[in-house]
């Protein structure tokens, strides 16, 4: 078994524990959990790049959430308003591990055509936490 598979297994277990055991969490806890998996600290700048750039597809995260998600966004196809994503501007964000996982799964698929890695999720949350 390679190291990467071991890390993946460990990360899956850790997240599963986080998702099932405690639904209520904090942005800092979620970032820490995601960072612990690849054992690399989160990099806010990298999170911002991932968030604002397009990844070979029609949408970036910003298409719906706005370039700096401290304000309400708007769904790119339906026009439905989306509450701010930065936790300082919307205290509900990243306080529910299952909800966070659900939206990362769907939206990374839409934007990148694949799921985001734990490191990428940690980067994005770390950048969002710098927005005050």
């Amino acid at each position: 078994m390679t190291d990467s598979i071991l890390i993946r297994l460990a990360s899956a277990t850790l997240l599963a524990a986080l998702v099932t055991a405690t639904q209520a969490t904090t942005p800092a806890d979620l970032q820490a959990a995601y960072s612990a998996l690849p054992a690399t600290p989160a990099v806010p700048d990298r999170g911002q790049q991932l968030f604002t750039n397009r990844h070979g597809r029609e949408w970036s995260c910003s298409s719906c959430h706005g370039a700096v998600p401290t304000h309400p966004g708007k769904h790119a196809s339906t026009g439905k308003p989306i509450a701010p994503l930065a936790p300082a501007f919307n205290p509900e964000r990243f306080t529910d591990a299952a909800k966070t996982e659900k939206w990362f799964r769907r939206n990374c698929n839409d934007v990148m055509g694949r799921e985001c890695s734990p490191a990428e999720k940690a980067d994005v949350i770390s950048w969002l936490r710098t927005l005050k």
Binding site: S77, T78, G79, R106, D110
Partner: protein
């Protein structure tokens, strides 16, 4: 000066009758839609778009939609299995069964249903493209009480 003096009385009666029958038809719009929405349906589906009244699509359409949420009109709307099953059951039980909704519309889109197209045939093409409207699925852009299941045309306000 009264510009309408020349209109015979019978015509006025006819107008009144037309108006009355029109009002009844407009009132019909509330019959299907006004089902109380399952909280989970509102929570999950209305995160991205309006919580469309379940009576606006037949059960066949809802079954197809709920069975392929990871490919939901070019977006990933996937949900955990328990939630999907809860939504599918409720949508099936509350799906449209009356005449105009009996047949599944193309692509299972409410906006491609014959009744939808007919009811909106007087809306000019450019209205749909206005930034405040954006999509024919954005009912609430013009139907000011759409979130309460009221699509009566008297509540329509088309944004500039």
């Amino acid at each position: 000066m009264n510009r309408h003096r020349w209109i015979p009385r019978t015509l006025w009666v006819l107008f009144a009758l037309l108006g009355a029958s029109h009002a009844v038809r407009a009132g019909d719009d509330q019959r299907g839609p006004s089902v109380a929405l399952l909280p989970k349906y509102k929570q999950e589906c209305a995160a991205c778009h309006m919580a469309f009244p379940p009576g606006m699509l037949p059960a066949d359409s809802w079954a197809r939609l709920t069975s392929d949420l990871p490919h939901h009109y070019a977006t990933d709307a996937s949900l955990d299995a328990a939630t999907v099953s809860e939504l599918a059951t409720w949508l099936s039980a509350n799906a449209g069964t009356y005449k105009r909704v009996r047949e599944a519309p193309p692509e299972d889109r409410i906006t491609k249903s014959a009744w939808f197209i007919r009811k909106h045939d007087e809306v000019p093409a450019d209205v749909w493209k206005r930034p405040a409207v954006k999509s024919a699925a954005n009912c609430a852009a013009c139907h000011t009480q759409a979130d309460q299941g009221n699509f009566n045309e008297h509540t329509v306000r088309i944004p500039r």
